[in-house]
């Protein structure tokens, strides 16, 4: 559903996805699904202290992340974008390290991976995307060449003042930003209808003169195509786009959450809709894009990958305490260096 104002029809890469690409999308989704469920298991096994599963959001995350051009775009995630990270080819041990409690924000290099540090403040990085995008405008890239910022946030986050300020700034400045909302029905225990007045985040866009797309967030191809047109719109200098991917948080909010306190299994079953992975599999089968052997292989690869990530996570020791001090500033202060010295001396003598 497209509401007015409308996107400029500037998609210069309008070719439909090749079979190869469709299979790649599936492989990514399968990897994400398996890594995600495994991370929940890791938490139960005491390997990591906590995790925020993205179960059910694979299509929304992989479909959008797949549209990113890593040579020039930049993604601003929340704490639940493991699928985007994977689709963008992040070092997944570095990504998972934040859930291991190794380092807030993760151990991957955000500049190289074009994926900002994991963000625990709800709506915290939406404005960063606007600033980064405006930076692209200031750089004065050739028309159609500019980098695009994509910021991910949830239905709950949409209530934060920062989101409004970001949309208004982006629209006033015509900044190349894609606001990608995963409306997964819940903000912890609060359902969308008690959160998002009017019922849709995409509907807000019109008030800023921003074109918006509301897509089936469980349809990976639809998500990819929406994201691709949004990027094309932004890249051509037409300003921001809002995408609202309608999906469902099938798991708990986090491994510390107990959804049974606020929704029944029956409600979950009714509201969740189709499983995006299963749905895509059926589609690929029907369309003759892939066969069972392919799916089995995808699953095998996913398991192999999970083992490697688990091993990597297990190998991660705690960071040296000295990093607490050395990573605060680019230009260290004597006062902080003195604290580091005292810390070291006391640790050694304890």
């Amino acid at each position: 559903m497209t509401t007015n104002p409308v996107l400029a029809a500037v998609d210069d890469d309008a070719a439909t996805l090749t079979h190869q690409q469709l299979r790649e999308l599936y492989t990514l989704m399968a990897a994400v699904r398996h890594l995600d469920s495994s991370a929940v298991a890791w938490q139960r096994q005491g390997i990591i202290p906590g995790y925020a599963p993205e179960l059910g959001q694979e299509a929304a995350q992989v479909g959008s992340g797949y549209a990113v051009d890593r040579t020039r775009d930049f993604v601003f995630p929340t704490y639940r974008e493991m699928g985007v990270a994977r689709a963008m080819g992040l070092d997944m041990v570095g990504y998972m390290s934040t859930h291991k409690a190794t380092w807030h924000g993760g151990m991957y290099n955000p500049l190289e991976s074009r994926f900002a540090p994991i963000q625990a403040v709800v709506a915290g990085s939406v404005l960063h995307a606007v600033g980064w995008a405006h930076g692209q405008t200031l750089e004065g890239h050739a028309t159609g060449e500019t980098g695009v910022a994509m910021t991910y946030f949830g239905d709950g986050a949409s209530s934060q003042g920062d989101v409004h300020e970001a949309m208004n700034f982006a629209a006033v400045m015509k900044a190349p930003v894609v606001f990608f909302i995963q409306n997964n029905g819940w903000a912890i225990s609060v359902p969308t209808e008690r959160q998002v007045a009017g019922g849709s985040v995409a509907a807000r866009a019109a008030g800023y003169g921003i074109p918006s797309l509301q897509v089936d967030g469980n349809d990976v191809v639809a998500v990819y195509e929406a994201t691709r047109s949004a990027f094309a719109h932004c890249r051509a200098g037409n300003g921001p786009v809002v995408i609202e991917a309608m999906t469902y948080r099938r798991g708990p909010h986090s491994t510390a959450d107990d959804p049974g306190r606020y929704r029944t299994l029956e409600e979950e079953r009714l509201d969740a809709g189709e499983d995006p992975l299963e749905q895509f599999k059926q589609q690929l089968l029907t369309e003759g894009v892939a066969d069972e052997a392919f799916f089995a292989e995808a699953q095998r690869l996913a398991e192999e990958e999970e083992e490697a990530v688990r091993a990597g996570i297990a190998d991660l020791g705690p960071r040296p305490g000295a990093e607490m001090f050395s990573l605060v500033f680019q230009e260290p202060t004597p006062a902080l260096q003195a604290q580091a010295t005292t810390w070291r001396e006391e640790s050694e003598h304890a």
Binding site: Y79, A101, H104, A120, M324, A340, E346
Partner: protein
């Protein structure tokens, strides 16, 4: 490496013979019970925040309250802290006693504008015609290996703001009584709950705020000495000043120091604004040495204020400058480094040692 906070089993307010009306409750239970009674006693009280209603809060502090008192009295808001606090102002203006919650300390920052510029000033601005009887509950401090922004200590910020009162309980008994006290006040109170202590049980005497064994000589009427600090352990050689989760750690340090013949007094400050300057003077007047302990970063932390208040009143008899053992001037680190950041037993012992070994000139 010293134990993590959750390993500590000492209850700050231990009583040998449980009297009638004394129950063993966790701080979570004590707070939940206090809120239940507050709602029952004052029909103008309302509780709200993110996930406070059906879920009962991520820490279950409001568990069951919506079911019992109805959706009008206990409700979920959209996810916006400035909205929650700004709405509290309007409710207070309409005669309500709001008891909002921010889900974690770090998420008080989006609401700071409403807290500092509105809640703290409305009584003043309106020349006393629009009081702000708001009790803002903030699950606070670190120690639970949580994600970023879930282990912050904002007391120095809050204590600096004219128009706010700030309190932090260290044990279930105080949690119960201080919350009931705060929620009946006519001024805004920031209520900082040490989240790492939510699950530790301790005796709660619901019949009186000042149980028989309390060492404090305040009166025992409801609220009486609740306005001040509490001597959690008496001692002669040195005073450890702490609040929140650091109180139980200091009590453990005191036990260890006692093995070396050092008799440490532990003062549980409780009120971080106004600070019980008299109790500081009395305790350090006796011990002549003091160490302040807090989780927040050192620079411009509340420890500086406490130290200066002590120095001001005890300068002539003080044997050494007051020491501060605090978090470092670094962002609160991830779980793996938490124990390096939060003052641990060794660091507090080193602080005590520095004070004891101090020699002039």
């Amino acid at each position: 490496m010293p134990e993590t906070i959750t390993d500590l089993r000492i209850t700050a307010n231990s009583m040998d013979t449980p009297a009638a009306g004394v129950e063993q409750l966790s701080m979570q239970q004590a707070l939940n019970r206090a809120l239940d009674e507050i709602l029952a006693e004052n029909p103008k009280t309302v509780i709200f925040g993110e996930d406070c209603g059906r879920l009962g809060g991520v820490f279950r502090i409001t568990d069951g309250l919506q079911a019992k008192h109805g959706e009008a009295r206990v409700f979920d808001t959209p996810l916006a802290e400035s909205g929650i606090l700004g709405m509290s102002v309007g409710l207070a203006m309409a005669g309500f006693h709001p008891i909002p919650e921010v889900q974690f300390d770090g998420f008080a920052y989006p609401a700071i504008n409403q807290i500092v510029c509105q809640i703290a000033r409305m009584n003043y601005r309106s020349r006393g015609t629009l009081p702000m009887p708001i009790t803002l509950r903030v699950p606070s401090f670190g120690g639970i290996r949580a994600p970023e922004h879930h282990g912050e200590s904002l007391e120095a910020l809050f204590a600096h703001v004219p128009g706010l009162k700030v309190v932090s309980p260290s044990n279930p008994h105080d949690a119960y009584h201080l919350l009931k006290y705060a929620a009946t006040r006519l001024d805004p109170v920031i209520f900082m709950e040490p989240k790492s202590r939510y699950w530790q049980k301790g005796p709660v005497d619901v019949t009186t705020a000042v149980p028989g064994e309390a060492t404090h000589d305040g009166d025992t009427s409801s609220g009486g000495s609740l306005t001040g600090s509490r001597v959690a352990r008496e001692g002669r050689h040195l005073t450890l000043v702490a609040w929140g989760a650091m109180v139980s750690r200091c009590l453990q340090v005191a036990e260890l120091a006692a093995e070396d013949g050092i008799d440490v007094e532990v003062l549980d400050l409780r009120w971080l604004k106004p600070i019980d300057a008299e109790a500081l003077a009395k305790s350090v007047g006796k011990t002549r040495r003091a160490v302040v302990v807090h989780e927040a970063p050192l620079t411009s932390g509340l420890g500086a204020e406490v130290a200066q208040l002590i120095t001001q009143s005890c300068f002539a008899t003080l044997k050494a400058p007051v020491e501060r053992v605090t978090g470092f001037d670094v962002p609160y680190p991830s779980g793996d480094l938490e124990d390096e950041y939060i003052p641990n037993i060794d660091r507090i012992l080193f602080g005590i040692q520095r004070v004891l070994e101090y020699r002039r000139g």
